[in-house]
Amino acid sequence: MIIETTGLRKSFSSRAGREKKTVEAVRGVDLKVAEGEIFGFLGPNGAGKTTTLRMLATLITPDGGDATIAGVNLRKQPGDVRKVIGYVAQGGSTWDDSTAREELVLHARMYGISKTEAHKRASAALEAFELAEYANRKCKTYSGGQRRRVDIALGIIHQPKVVFLDEPTTGLDPQSRAHMWEEVRKLREMGMTVFLTTHYLDEADALCDRLAIMDHGQIVAEGTPAELKQEVLGDVVQVALPQNVAAAAEVFDSAEYVKKLETTDESIRLYVEDGASVIPQVLRTLDANGIKLTSVELHRPSLDDVFLAKTGRSLRES
């Protein structure tokens, strides 16, 4: 495991008027991230994703718990952790009046890399992130997507083992977003472990090898996107019927592939493991019993259903 955390905690105190309030941002996070995977933190704003990430990136000290990153202890050797990680903040990290090349060279040199090597790496990074054209222009002239790519290039200029990306696609247009997903996958291909946070369901689903769903400072579920979705009772086959709802319910009640059955006035809902392969059977059974149907629909569970099942709220609403 390249990242392991146990009981990571952090609370902040804030003042509202005279009252002092303590907010428990992260309340005991246990995590294991395997080398070479894209690991995602999914959760609503304020769930504690960024705080956890900032703790792992040595930017804030945990109140409790412990972590090792690439074999280095976070609390005892934060300085050595910095050498093996890269961190890309949510809000950007470039200076308006600097050029991408200047930022890259200086950032590399802050890791102790020599001047010539820093220039070499900056050129390579500019090429790899399709920034060579604007390399010597000031950062303030870049588009949102270009500037975000500079941020990522800065985060990996020292070839870290782990790179933390905080909301890498927030604020990007759909095209830049798709582009960014490709960049993130490239990082994995280069052998890096990517740890990202997101509040986008589709991003977590499409991009992450494994996920932890976070809410109110705790992890409520963990697994691959497919595993997580299967936990929520699997697929739903919804059969709309003009009549005989009760009869149909009776027929399917005893079927072994149905995990759970719900009826409405004009339809039955069958919770099954693998909806696509069950549909032919459903149709045959209905036919054999002489029950007519209007339509069949297949619902695959989304990560939002997972979130709903674990927290009682929809991620879209929170």
């Binding site: 990136a57 000290t61 910095r82 050498k83 961190y87 200076w95 308006d96 009046d97 802050m110 890791y111």
Partner: protein, 253 residues
Amino acid sequence: MKFLRDTWLVFQRQMLLLLRNPVWVVVGITQPLFYLLLFAPLMKKALGQGAELTDAQAYLIFVPGMLVMVALFTAFSGFGLIAELRAGVIERNRVTPVSRVALMLGRCLRDVVSLLFQAVLVTVLAVLFGMRVQLGNALLAYLLIALMALLLSSLGYALGLALKSEDALAPMLNTFIQPIMLLSGILLPMTLAPAWLQRVADFNPFSWAVKGVRELFAGNPGSPDVWKALVILVPLTVFTLVISSRAFAKSVR
């Protein structure tokens, strides 16, 4: 050595950005120039106590005050830092193994260099108006104001990191700088002040600095005011440097 190399890296970048946009160096010099041209001539009669001073004599008293005034302005360093905080540059630096002291010191040295440039400009102008000062004494005076700049800019950075907002920093600095300026005898020597005011001014380190610089310009490098100024400024500067580098190292939310 890593620390020196890191400081040089930070300093280089800050200088590059300063030279790219040198307008602030120019803006910083306008106020002392106005004082020099529009206020110093008044001093000829006011300070002469009956007899009128020459331009050269008036400037020998007034220019040191102006140099300290320019140095006081380095306390506003926090504003640039808040902009860097907001852009995420500081945070990006803080995830690297770069020395935290270097992050602060590199910036302070940039402030010292730009201050010295302004100081030389003010001095050269005064020399054109007839003021005469020995090079050695002037260099020693520059050392004093460089110390002041180091002290105040590091303090400014610590304040910027603590407050994180221009809206909080501006009134805070104005509240402190105003009395410090008035109590340091920048415009008129504190010897003209009533006894109680002089007592109060004795608690202002910059009042000692002004005295020291004036003695140097007057051609008395051996005056006790010179070494007193050094003895007061050096430990204070070390103290603020430590405070400020701690602020850079401390976790910022």
